[in-house]
Subunit: 200 residues, 2 copies
DNA sequence: TGTACATCAGTGAACGCGCGTTCACTGATGTAC
DNA sequence: TGTACATCAGTGAACGCGCGTTCACTGATGTAC
């Protein structure tokens, strides 16, 4: 009996393949990066034929977009949790942002990275998700900063955490140092500014 | 006469194919991104057979590494030029860094981006180029900043310009604003730090 | 309760594609005599 | 100056690969009577 699909077994029939595809796609994304996402590999891991996915997603692109949506939801949630109670400190939000990226590097890259190699539709969809997320974040910043040039401050902060997150994800950093203290120190510098050179 | 190769013509025979491959690869890189680099496409554009490349490069990877090397050389040069005469201001160096990335987005991404999808050898080679570049940069910073925590300052600065460069390359920013003034404002914030929230 | 049937989530086979690389070759170049 | 020859940058054909997607199908599910 190859695939008897007894009721109660964990065969897919009737509904849970969609969910299984997303979960598997997500681990594949973390293992192989956005470029490694492959419908055939997902199907292989689920021990299911490749075309079966087409009953749940229009294309591989659609799967990637669904993952990116998950990612933006989760990131937003984490940031909300980090900024919730205190109302002036931005450090915790920055740390939460970077921690999300470090916990989900493949997903983070899908969300924010390499716009270039994406196929048309995915590119547009993901781009608009990004822009929505950014709008939310800077709206939030607006409440915490003096009025003039909020947008510069938002861009400054986003650049900083985005850059630091990617450098860490890419393993470009001193392996010796403790990541969390490094993040902490860098974010503190965002508050104080770079030290001036010693007066000559 | 299909390929008569008269002396003085711009046929490749004897030596200039290597150069031509690098140039074409570089424009392809800018058009299609690192993921779009393709030996066959390069050959096609040069109107040359694909295997001919193997007389000059061991593999497609080797071409990519050669491009990355070019990139690091050029970036280093630009930074040197920007920091040469003045000795305390970091703004010009930051601006030069970002300007390099904006002028060569594909190359910049090859150099610093998406480590994940690279094939083994290329990955290692490019990674070590990056680390070398970073070491040079922070060595230079060491001369411009008060001693304690130079490495934090270097990481702060690198994160900021890297993040901002990528956001601009990806076209994630307000298309309305003028890029150069935005860069300028953000870099100035790196000196002063974020404004404090209004005292309650 | 038992049978006929529509639904639709799954299947295997096949499509066309572009890729990096290998192979045995060819034919122009430039050198040795 | 003229001929024989080694070199080696180029060639076309072919390899095996993995991919996304389409197609006509099958067979279990759950519903209507």
């Amino acid at each position: 009996m190859p695939h008897p699909a007894e009721p109660g077994s964990d065969r897919y029939h009737r509904g849970n393949l969609r969910q299984a595809i997303l979960e598997t796609a997500r681990s594949l994304l973390e293992e192989a990066g956005p470029g490694g996402l492959s419908l055939r590999e997902i199907a292989r891991r689920l021990d299911v034929s490749a075309p079966s996915a087409y009953h749940h997603f229009a294309s591989l692109d659609a799967i990637a977009v669904a993952l990116a949506e998950q990612g933006f939801d989760e990131l937003t949630e984490r940031l909300k949790a980090a900024t919730g109670n205190l109302d002036g400190r931005l450090g915790p939000a920055g740390a939460a942002y970077i921690s999300f990226a470090r916990a989900n590097p493949g997903l983070y890259r899908l969300m924010f990275g390499e716009g270039f190699q994406m196929i048309s539709k995915k590119n547009l969809a993901v781009r608009s998700l990004r822009q929505r997320a950014y709008a939310t974040l800077s709206e939030d910043l607006r409440k915490r900063l003096p009025e003039p040039d909020v947008s510069t401050a938002a861009l400054f902060l986003w650049s900083l955490v985005h850059g630091l997150a990617l450098l860490m994800i890419d393993g470009q950093l001193d392996a010796a140092a403790d990541p969390n203290t490094m993040i902490d120190k860098v974010l503190r510098l965002a508050g104080t500014g770079l030290p001036r050179r010693p007066a000559t």
